[in-house]
Symmetry: C2
Subunit: 341 residues, 2 copies
């Protein structure tokens, strides 16, 4: 397998797992997907695929096209686990395609809520580079497709909350210290006043697993991409500083050290482990690494494992179906192999 | 410190931690302790001390005398933790003394329920040797003291349940497999029909900690010492066989292996650990060692630690008082030092 973007940690990797830019675009001459029949959606898909795969861009040959309607359930779920598609995208069959770059850093969902959902992901805290790359691909698409655009409103999208720039910029943050000191609620309230939102990873409504939070801009109308990104960037810097300071204080507590070292002990020795439990321990280990309590494990390893231990990823790697207990055994083995010596 | 009897494991050590013989004796010319005033009890104590310490026996110089009324609370509790005295023995001041052999295998409580409670403990399954040694010391005492004895009843004791031989023979058994398969209740019911009793360690009424059970004879009247011991011996052999067979079956289960290896991981990594939790993991480790799942740890280490991690033992070893959290930290450190590498 090629190396994937999520296998390395990036800038401010102690807190920021990844940066994501998502652009929503629609083709001018067609209704939004919800109002298209299968034939029209297929027509849209062909146009978008052609615009990417047959473009003169140097990255065009590095894209592959996944026909979502014709892959098995496990493969679908593993796309969600890698944050490449939304859970909604795999929930029903209807001319859905995913254009995916080799290293999985760029994914283009076709016929999701909008005709096009372009997503760029990068390791660590890297909003500028992520936006730059998203823009480049946006321009590439724009050259060959007519985007629905209004001079007064900006890009037109099915949901009004995406109108304007059509952009969501977000960072995935690991906030174990702020979470454990119950600071998240207050932070969340303050953020909403300035047009940002923070929520547990894996999209809206979910509970924070392993202290992972997605911080994103909420406003796309009447604001430039640059302003939105700068806003997110400044707040992220403040949260990073707050998290690191809190971690430093917590790491001096024997009870916190106990929790971290126990997590290491369990990951090195368990023979059966459920995904949620493993994520909790990996989260503790991450905090241990960044506070200097644990030295012989890299953040890269943790980041990679947080993806690889997901159920569908395990099945994908295993090459054949696994029962729940078999999965827990394979997961425990994978973790032991990564941590023992 | 000298080596103590509990620092090694003995015959059938995979199941039998220790063997104990206890003889209750009283001096003919005095009432039972409960009916003696302080002065009379002191007189009794002097006679018993003299009989042991000033005897011509080769072991006499290896006994020391502890004045229970004049040691601190921690030292008292640590005597209970080492199973050298009963919890009742340390609960009130009243001319109580403990004569203790260097290696702590022989202890003589003076002015407990009876004037004399002689106890011999040995590692592993060793009823004959333990009884032989108890008899030898009993004879030694008998030469210099007049025991209350009735030709029809045998030795006279305060509580009628000890009348006759005045003997309790017992084995401390580690029964994690039988416990986990819920077999103990049925076993207990059957044993009571044949004059034996099984209960959690640390005396009557307590719950089994770390799957430790004390199996003992209940009948002392109208039965010879030899018959009582043979009876206990046969039943113990059956329980050992049953426990080992059940362990073998359980050890094939991945969930059991998981529990055992996790316990090892936690003992190697915790920074804070309460006594009960540590005992639970040590019990799991013991089962892991005897089923071949864990190879680099000896039963001797486990047996020794099960005593050393007790609260008062930790404080005694530490030489100064410890708060509850400090104790948990010292205990975790002691365990890590014993298990790492």
């Amino acid at each position: 397998m090629d190396n994937k973007w999520y296998e390395t940690s990036g800038k401010n990797g102690e807190v920021v797992i990844s940066t994501r830019i998502r652009l929503a675009r629609n083709l001018e001459q067609y209704p939004f997907p919800i109002r298209c029949n299968a034939q029209v959606k297929q027509e849209i898909a062909e146009k978008v695929k052609d615009a990417v795969l047959n473009s003169n861009s140097v990255i065009a040959p590095h894209f592959s096209c996944i026909d979502i309607d014709n892959i098995d359930a496990g493969e679908k779920v593993s796309l969600v686990e890698r944050h490449l598609v939304s859970p909604e995208f795999i929930s029903e069959k209807s001319q859905k395609y995913l254009l995916l770059l080799d290293d999985e850093s760029v994914s283009i969902m076709i016929n999701e809520e909008d005709h096009i959902r372009l997503q760029v992901m990068r390791e660590g805290f890297d909003l500028d580079k992520a936006y730059e790359q998203a823009s480049r691909i946006d321009t590439l698409l724009d050259e060959r497709l007519n985007f629905a655009f209004s001079d007064t409103l900006g890009y037109l999208t099915q949901c009004p909350t995406n109108l304007g720039t059509g952009m969501r910029a977000s960072v995935m943050l690991h906030l174990p210290a702020l979470q454990s000191t119950k600071a998240m609620r207050k932070i969340s309230e303050n953020l909403s006043k300035i047009g940002l939102t923070i929520r547990g990873s894996y999209g809206e409504g979910s509970e924070p697993t392993a202290a992972m939070y997605q911080l994103s801009n909420q406003i796309s109308l009447g604001i430039s991409e640059k302003t939105a990104i700068d806003n997110l960037k400044n707040i992220t810097k403040q949260i990073i500083a707050q998290e690191l300071k809190t971690r430093e204080a917590l790491a001096k507590q024997l009870s916190v050290q106990d929790t971290i070292y126990r997590s290491e002990g369990i990951l090195k020795s368990a023979r059966l482990i459920a995904c949620d439990e493993a994520l909790k321990h990996l989260s503790n280990l991450r905090m241990g690494i960044t506070t200097g309590l644990i030295n012989n494990i890299s953040l890269d390893t943790i980041n990679r494992l947080m993806v690889e231990i997901q159920p569908a990823m395990l099945i994908r790697q295993n090459g054949k179906p696994l029962s729940s207990q078999e999965r827990d055994a394979v997961r425990a083995e994978l973790l032991r192999n990564n941590f023992q010596n």
